[in-house]
Symmetry: C2
Subunit: 352 residues, 2 copies
């Protein structure tokens, strides 16, 4: 098990060796540790392996300095300078928070960026400032077919919404618009289990339960899983995510042949929005309503008495409380990879 501080230090050492300025590297470290602490291993320190291969492939400007291209009292357009997404996303959400505090609402979009960690990290920043936070981002991997389609046009295309609660238990929804992520399908295959109906499609766009399908020319589904399961809704949300991110920022569309191939970088785009509830309610009233509503949902009689109904953000909060005490585990396979990365970067290895 590893402490938050040790994980952070390890990440900072590696990013520093890769040439990233310390203040920017700090943003990456806090985003990755945020995810690992909450059990979102897919968006934690494991991302260093992906960042390393992108960096080595010349697809990330490690010396990037995000800049504000234009702004109004309620909006800003940020250029990520082809760098890691985390500093650009942090700048953007900070601007959105500042603008909502001053003028009630903030909308900030980022172009020319890349992966920024978990969306929930940024929308939570808004909630911690007593604001509603919304975030979307375009993605690099193309894995999901639109409803009725036999070709991939989308990635996980995530969406996040956060709202502050009077008891501090932030309502925090952070969801891919696919039914499940590729990793979850791969895990089924590793255990020689079929997928439930609705997770994957064959290369012909037909329903399948074969966990190898998405790795053999097939696709993930949009949330809903099938036409009968209303996957056109998940597909519609995925399209919305791309419109709010890429179309609004003027970045390369995921459907463009130049997706990920632009000379200036990955050109991933993000969207951040904040709303101050005191535009409509007296100070603290909104947070009280969110608490009452969340507690009413938690009090729903459960189908299985052993499994209480939870609210978005509850599972990750429980995990965080546990890991704050017990530490963050790193699985053996990942550890070997990270040790190799640290060695290649010429930095000490601090973790277990």
């Amino acid at each position: 098990m590893n402490s938050e501080a040790a994980c952070r230090d390890q990440i900072l050492l590696i990013l520093g060796a890769w040439g990233m300025p310390a203040d920017k590297a700090e943003r990456v470290a806090e985003a990755l540790v945020w995810a690992d602490l909450r059990g979102v291993a897919s968006h934690g320190i494991s991302m260093l392996t992906e960042y390393d291969s992108r960096r080595q492939g010349g697809r990330i400007n490690m010396a990037a300095v995000p800049a504000i291209l234009r702004q109004t009292p309620v909006s800003a357009l940020v250029d990520g300078d082809g760098g890691m997404g985390h500093p650009a996303a942090h700048l953007a959400m900070s601007l959105a928070i500042e603008k909502a505090k001053a003028n009630g609402v903030g909308v900030v979009v980022v172009r020319n960026s890349s992966h920024f960690g978990a969306l929930g990290h940024y929308t939570e920043l808004a909630a911690l400032a007593d604001l509603i936070g919304i975030a979307t981002t375009s993605v690099s991997g193309i894995t999901a077919a639109p409803t009725g389609g036999a070709a991939a046009r989308f990635g996980t295309d995530p969406f996040s919404f956060a709202a502050p609660s009077a008891d501090g238990k932030t309502f925090l929804l952070d969801m891919a618009t696919t039914t499940v992520a590729r990793g979850k399908v791969r895990n089924r295959g590793n255990e020689n289990l079929h997928c439930p109906p609705g997770w994957v499609l064959t290369p012909e766009g037909l329903p399948s339960t074969d966990p190898n399908a998405p790795f053999n020319g097939g696709f993930l589904t949009s949330l809903g899983g099938s036409l009968e399961g209303a996957s056109y809704k998940g597909y519609g949300l995925a399209a919305m995510v791309n419109i709010l991110s890429s179309c609004l920022a003027g970045s390369t569309l995921i459907t463009d042949p130049m997706h990920l191939k632009q000379p200036w970088g990955q050109d991933i785009a993000h969207f951040f929005m904040t709303i101050d509830p005191t535009l409509f309610r007296e100070s603290g009233e909104f947070e009280q309503s969110v608490e009452i509503f969340s507690n009413a949902l938690r009090a729903t009689p459960p189908a299985d008495p052993a499994v209480p109904v939870q609210v978005a953000g509850d599972p990750e909060r429980a995990r965080m409380e546990e890991r704050r005490t017990k530490g963050i585990p790193i699985a053996p396979g990942l550890r070997s990879k990270l040790i190799a990365i640290a060695a290649e970067a010429g930095t000490p290895w601090l973790l277990y």
Copy 2:
């Protein structure tokens, strides 16, 4: 078949007889005809039967005059005066459009309102003004159980997102956050067909394919249909819809024992938001990106060569073009009910 004008006139006659001021009734008529023209029969003239029973039950103030309670350059809070939701929603979206045109963004919430027709009618107004439009509303019926729950805590809790396209084919997503609507389940029962897995739950909160389940103590599911199908995402979206609508407006929560029972009316709440894309792009560029993106999605190789991939808004646009020429059908059962309503209101019957 009936012309748009005839449907509108029939609705205006009945609402006038019910005591609704002409300018307010106009908003109801345009919203209902908008839906019927697009084949969304559940939100068209059929709603008069529901409005009639709510009115007769004293739950709608037909003389309501919506009012702005407070506003800033980018926001407003509207009180619906316990009336029909359509005039309040139209006022709110008009304000949101005006504010985005002047200051880039508009967020308007409505309290003390009721059913306002289809959300897409209002988000389309934003798109027609070259803005992004978002809308949510709380609802009256409580039909869906949260993931893992054995009691209804949600309704259809719809969400809509619209974006203008350079070719005029507005991207228009308008979706319930349940997998399907009650009407779709009832239709299965009427034809003695089972539901597909994932549509309904037993009173114990267990998966079922019995189309009578939601009418015999059972529930609808959130989008995703089951835990394995990631229904916690649809559940999270439903909660978001209630937070943006009821919590932000300070209206009665759907989980409150006083839901629909407040002395001042139904107290349904709405949320509307607009964003001007020229905050980030040059005039017309965003619309061009939306067109290019939508066309790329439509060009996806289809799983069934006879069924091309569509984009949100396409099916309703096709239906509208057909009905603009051929007229709007009214099914016999509905016609009898509407004839009785017109007779009771003492107005002529104009339709077929």
